[in-house]
């Protein structure tokens, strides 16, 4: 098989990753800077027997992907800030009904319609808490085009395995940058599909889980009839108001990811071994920071960086350890400190947390991080 080497855009890598993960349904509403994801899939999905629908808005698009997934098809939607706001209600619905879906948010500056074409990382907290109520969610954030491809596949694998909505949180720079990528051959990929019931349709209880905490999921239309509701439900899927049943259901829902945190939480260490000054960052800001770190290292400053790949659940333990190793943790991000607060919480005062924030639509320049590094000596 010839190597798959391309000059590829981040948004196109989402589309190709989704297809290779087995996604065969996309519903969305075009919005900059995410539009190329839908644009690519509108061409690619029909070629391979998939379906593409441009819906009337982002709310219905979110509903459509939940419906398609209930029918057994891996489903994707993609949007940006204002559209992400509109999707929140249905993201909560996917969370409580435990329907696997992948949502891409290519962030732009906000609030409201904000800055359509300019980079931002200001939806980090919305990705975690945008929908109301305690709920599980996984948020992944890539820093290169190749990683965007890989993470899209991971997002599908995680959503299928844990029956949870997974958000791929990108910024405009990663969504729009073209880079040289060599993609793996399809047969080298690990693809996870949801666990299906082994019992008969008559015996099927849709929300009863074994020790894995993840109930098997039947496809609609295959004879396993069951009730799906956003109300808190018992193991049959019908609503309940009984405190003992509510407790069982919501405790399982909110603890199911804890059981798997070791395989969910990912981060990348660079030069952390001998670091005395730390950087914790993610997405395109990690690329600015890496550049700054190299320059600092050339000047003999022992800087090390943790690049967060799983924003939620947050890698609290690793950041805590890092805080005990270094004097300062610099946190560059294109918002007013959304992850800096989380880092502060994780290090429990062991290191000084130094935010580098920018919200004017300009990326963080390597020189700005370098300046902060020098201030920390």
């Amino acid at each position: 098989m010839k190597p798959r080497t391309y000059m590829m855009q981040g948004n196109v890598a989402v589309a190709e990753g989704a297809i290779d993960a087995g996604c065969r349904f996309f519903a969305g509403y075009p919005i900059t800077p995410s539009s190329e994801i839908g644009e690519t899939l509108s061409k690619r999905l029909p070629e391979i027997g998939g379906k593409f629908i441009q819906m009337e808005d982002e709310i219905s698009a979110m509903g459509a992907v939940i419906g398609a997934s209930l029918g057994g098809v891996k489903s994707l939607t993609a949007t940006s800030g204002p559209g992400f706001s509109l999707k929140q209600e249905n993201i909560g619905y996917a969370s409580i009904t435990e329907v696997p879906v992948v949502i891409v948010n290519v962030m732009r500056g906000g609030p409201s319609t904000g800055l359509p074409t300019l980079p931002s990382q200001s939806d980090v907290m919305q990705a975690r808490w945008g929908t109301h109520g305690d709920h599980p969610i996984i948020v992944l954030t890539p820093a290169t085009v190749r990683e965007t491809y890989d993470m899209t596949i991971q997002a599908f694998n995680m959503s299928e395995k844990y029956r949870v909505p997974v958000i791929l949180l990108m910024d405009e720079i990663i969504g729009h940058v073209y880079e040289k990528v060599t993609l793996p051959n399809i047969d080298e990929l690990t693809i996870i599909n949801r666990k299906k019931p082994t019992c008969s349709a008559q015996e099927y209880l849709p929300y009863i889980a074994d020790e894995t905490l993840i109930p098997p999921m039947a496809n609609f239309g295959e004879g396993y009839r069951y009730h799906v509701t956003g109300l808190v439900h018992d193991e049959t899927g019908f609503p309940t108001n009984k405190t003992d049943q509510i407790e069982v259901m919501l405790n399982r829902l909110n603890s199911k990811l804890d059981k798997y945190s070791d395989e969910i939480i990912q981060y990348e260490d660079t030069f952390t071994e001998d670091a005395k000054i730390g950087i914790v960052t993610y997405g395109s800001s990690a690329r600015s920071s890496k550049n700054a770190m190299r320059k600092a290292r050339e000047q003999g400053i022992p800087v090390g960086m943790i690049r967060i790949q799983t924003l939620w659940p947050f890698p609290t333990e690793r950041i805590y350890e890092f805080g005990r190793q270094v004097s300062h943790i610099i946190v560059p991000e294109l918002n007013l400190g959304q992850i800096a607060h989380e880092v502060e919480h994780a290090v429990k005062g062991a290191a000084e947390v130094v935010p580098v924030n920018k919200i004017n639509g300009d990326p963080i320049h390597p020189e700005e991080v370098l300046l902060k590094i020098k201030e920390c000596i």
């Binding site: 000059m7 720079i173 073209y178 880079e179 690329r287 020189e367």
Partner: protein, 177 residues
């Protein structure tokens, strides 16, 4: 220090600068087997407004994908050259479209001025290919990507049926030097 070359293509939305960036990056990365990134910055308008496309070509990893120390600047509007002429490296190259740039910048760089859009209209019969004429000038002045690689990338990136006219425009650009 390893090989590292930064190009900024600047002008107005609709002048085809993002396409030129993609062609340059693809020529370098796919057909010349170097590493390259292309990034872009533009406003919400479909046409007009400032547009900028940046290409970084390197033989190593490219972490920060934006231009910070520019080797070559193409400016297709007065606004673009006024804004970006200062970001150029000492001894860098600035190419301007003299049809739009009336006040030439002054500084420690080599300035090349051609009526690019006018040439597109007169020699090729289409103003639309001004960007590809500029690409020819860039190829000749930068000397970092092979002519063949760029022609391959043009064929791969321009709309079907327009390959020959674009290649003609590219050669026209090269012939300006």
């Amino acid at each position: 220090m390893s090989f590292h070359y930064e190009i900024r293509l600047s002008g107005a939305g609709g002048q085809g600068l993002i396409l030129v960036g993609k062609i340059l990056a693809e020529a370098a990365a796919i057909y010349d087997d170097k590493n390259a990134t292309q990034s872009q910055s533009y406003g919400p308008e479909a046409r007009g407004g400032a547009s900028r496309s940046e290409v970084i070509i390197s033989d190593g990893d490219i972490d920060y994908p934006k231009a910070t120390n520019i080797d070559l600047l193409l400016a297709m509007t007065q606004e673009a050259v006024d804004k970006y002429a200062n970001d150029i490296k000492p001894d860098g190259v600035i190419i301007v479209d003299s049809g739009f740039v009336k006040n030439n910048p002054k500084g420690d760089f080599k300035l090349y001025s051609f009526p690019i859009t006018e040439i597109a209209e007169e020699k090729i019969g289409k103003k639309l290919v001004a960007n590809i004429i500029a690409l020819g000038v860039i190829e000749k002045l930068s000397g970092i990507i092979s002519e063949e690689a760029i022609i391959n990338a043009i064929r791969a990136r321009v709309p079907k049926g327009t390959e020959e006219i674009n290649i003609k425009a590219f050669k026209q650009g090269r012939d300006l030097l």
